[in-house]
């Protein structure tokens, strides 16, 4: 079913409501003295516990949109609610804590901390949340098992292949049981087979953990798995398919 972007997002957000709500959000940058409008007054919502894709050509504003959803960037104007929280009302520390509790990232370049082992990389977000040591160990071990790396927990990132690194990144994202997982082109740096494996893994853990996934992609294979599609062009949402 193809749905045009909604003119008015839902007014209330409960557990069953959308996980992300954009209301006339604009994001502009100044680059080399020029004002660049990366997101142009978009209004739409992202449903909870869905496998949602943000698609569009390069420069269409996919990454900016994900950055806004991930609360690592703030709108220039408009209102953005993530997990029911108006992020404009949070100062830097509260926004960081909010991210720590609710949002996880899977990066295109994996972004594992090179000095930590796979186990420690996955454990790292739990330390920010002060999860007790025993529970940390159990959750990390369980996720290492889930992503098929139970025997590679003591390996450093430079001892892992691209696919293994992305599995660690996915485990790291899910270990804190976030409300929202964001993935910026998660298969872009992987070969086709590994990409397919990662997509399958993401889909499976999304279902198993009942998480809301939002990812940007050019990969038709990944797009085909999406439950919802948010299409962008020139910083505007041109279509939302559910």
């Amino acid at each position: 079913m193809s749905i045009a972007p909604s003119a008015a997002a839902p007014a209330t957000l409960g557990d069953a409501g959308p996980v992300v709500v954009f209301r006339d959000v604009v994001k502009t940058y100044i680059e080399d003295g020029l004002r660049v409008e990366a997101v142009r007054g978009v209004t739409f919502s992202v449903a909870r516990r869905r496998f949602s894709a943000v698609v569009g050509p390069s420069g269409s504003g996919k990454t900016t949109l994900l950055n806004l959803i991930g609360c690592i960037d703030k709108p220039t104007s408009g209102q953005l609610e993530v997990c029911g929280q108006d992020i404009a009302k949070l100062d830097d520390n509260r926004l960081t804590d909010f991210r720590s509790r609710n949002i996880a990232f899977v990066f295109q370049s994996f972004n594992l901390l090179p000095v930590l082992t796979a186990f420690e990389n996955i454990e790292y977000p739990l330390l920010q949340l002060r999860v007790p040591a025993r529970e940390r160990r159990e959750r990390v071990a369980s996720l290492l098992e889930a992503v098929g790396l139970a025997k590679l927990g003591d390996h450093r990132p430079n001892q892992l292949s691209g696919g293994q690194k992305q599995r660690v990144a996915i485990a790291r994202a899910l270990v804190k049981r976030p409300a929202l997982v964001l993935a910026d082109e998660p298969t872009a740096n992987l070969d086709t087979q590994t990409g397919a494996d990662i997509i399958a893994l993401m889909r499976r853990v999304q279902r198993d953990h009942d998480a809301s996934f939002v990812f940007s992609t050019h990969d038709p294979q990944l797009m085909s798995h999406a439950e919802d599609l948010i299409a962008l062009r020139d910083g505007s949402v041109v279509e939302v398919q559910r």
Binding site: D73, N93, T96, A104, F107, N111, E123, L129
Partner: protein, 470 residues
């Protein structure tokens, strides 16, 4: 804990750069510790040399310090034995005091008439056994390498005396006293002036004969050269005594070495007070530990006030201003060197941590995206700076102690400014525990402080910009 783990692993990540930084810090630590221990050795040596000569505290009749040298009768301490007993028996001072002894300071002319040589002298009359105990004071262990000669003065020999090596040289006593490295006195042609009057010549000849045949009171004085000491008595009349010189001893300061004579206090009292009541010009008080000085001085003042004694107390720093000046100079040099080393440490850490931050911008963005606050990023880089400081300071201090041991085993000597003889050159490690702790803490604090600037820079990155950085 994870912050420390990440910090430590990041230090190991770029081993060469970390090693160079640690080396720079270690060199700084070595410089500061070795020079600090050298300064401590010098100041301890100065303190020891001063305290073993003049004690920690001197008790004078009020006004002696300013005016008494010109009038030792009025400014002398008549009841010096009772006063010394009062000090020794005091319940607070008694355990702190090592020696309390009377001394008589005097000045006059010393003549060796066999060689027709004479010279002004600065003398001191001492109780020989007390002087020996004074000279054995070595709280800091810096004199242990100097062999203390057997005492040349004896309590039961009032005629014996000691001169400075310079004094021995001037008065031609080097040969009879067997002083090493002492230039021989050149032989001069006989005087061509008018012959001595018959009566004066006969008096001189009889004096000389008497001196040669005078029975020695004690064994050590046999075959010793003799000096005649001329001084004014307390009443102003000239007085002469004869002194058998047992030995020449170097006195450190050249001015003192060229003018110094020590003698039995009884002989000094005869010379200064004649047949009048014997007095002491001062009571020397030597403590076991210098750190008790302030308390002992206060107690002495209270004691004298309590017993209505017209006495004043001066400490060794007041008596020997050179000590305070030298200590001040060495401390200033130490501070200057420590400052330079501190700047080296600061710049090493700033440079290393600055590079580290720039290389890890993407990691900073990742950590921030995962929920690490800016303060967490700052703490991470501060921990790295502190660890580099800890490793460098620990290595530097350990190496400094090794070098210190080598220096002390090398038996080096040097002649300090204004000194007449070479002194041992070493570093004082036995008392450097608190100093080393201070240096270690200071280096770690400096390293942590230096990391603050790069750490703040890293913490200020916006997450989006940091993640975009390649």
């Amino acid at each position: 804990m994870m912050t420390l783990k990440i910090a430590f692993r990041n230090i190991l990540r770029n081993r060469r750069r970390s090693a160079m930084t640690v080396l720079a810090i270690a060199v700084g630590a070595i410089g500061v510790v070795l020079f600090g221990e050298f300064v401590r050795y010098i100041t301890a040596g100065l303190e020891t040399n001063t305290v073993e000569r003049v004690g920690h505290l001197n008790v004078f009749r009020t006004g002696y310090f300013e005016f008494g040298a010109g009038n030792p009768a009025e400014y002398g301490i008549a009841d010096f034995d009772a006063t010394a007993k009062l000090i020794r028996d005091d319940p607070q001072l008694g355990p702190e005091v090592n020696v309390v002894t009377p001394v008589v300071s005097l000045a006059g002319i010393a003549g060796n008439f066999e060689l027709d040589a004479s010279k002004t002298f600065l003398g001191v009359g001492v109780v020989p056994s007390d002087r020996d105990r004074l000279e054995r004071w070595d709280e800091h262990g810096v004199v242990t390498r100097r062999v203390l000669p057997e005492s040349a003065l004896r309590d039961d020999d009032e005629t014996g005396g000691i001169v400075g090596v310079g004094m021995a040289r001037v008065l031609g006593l080097c040969e009879p006293l067997k002083v090493a490295r002492c230039p021989r006195r050149p032989t001069r042609p006989p005087p061509t002036g008018a012959p001595l009057a018959d009566d004066l010549a006969s008096v001189a000849a009889s004096d000389l004969a008497a001196a040669k045949t005078e029975p020695a009171k004690t064994e050590p004085a046999i075959n010793s050269p003799r000096l005649d000491l001329l001084a004014a008595t307390a009443g102003g009349a000239p007085n002469v005594v004869s002194l058998r010189i047992a030995r020449a001893e170097p006195q450190g300061l050249r001015e003192l070495d060229d003018n110094f004579i020590a003698m039995h206090i009884a002989l000094a009292q005869k010379l200064v007070y004649g047949r009048g009541a014997a007095k002491a010009t001062a009571l020397v008080v030597q403590l076991h530990r210098t750190e008790d000085l302030a308390a002992a001085r206060d107690r002495l003042r209270a004691l004298f006030a309590e017993h209505h004694l017209d006495l004043e107390v001066r400490d060794f720093a007041e008596l020997q201003p050179f000590y305070t000046q030298a200590v001040g100079m060495f401390r200033a040099i130490f501070l200057f060197i420590a400052l330079i080393m501190g700047v080296i440490v600061l710049f090493s850490i700033v440079n290393t941590m600055g590079m580290s931050v720039m290389e890890r911008i993407n990691e900073i963005g990742t950590a921030r995206a995962m929920g690490v606050r800016r303060s967490g990023i700052r703490a991470l880089f501060l921990a790295e700076g502190a660890m580099l400081g800890m490793i460098g300071a620990t290595a530097g201090i350990a190496l400094a102690q090794l070098l210190a041991a080598l220096v002390n085993r090398a038996s080096l000597t040097w002649t300090p400014p204004g000194q007449a003889a070479p002194s041992p050159l070493g570093v004082l490690t036995s008392e450097s525990g608190p100093f080393i702790v201070v240096v270690w803490v200071a280096i770690v604090a400096a390293a942590t402080f230096a990391a603050l600037f790069p750490a703040n820079r890293g913490a200020r990155f916006e997450v989006v910009d940091a993640l975009r950085h390649v």
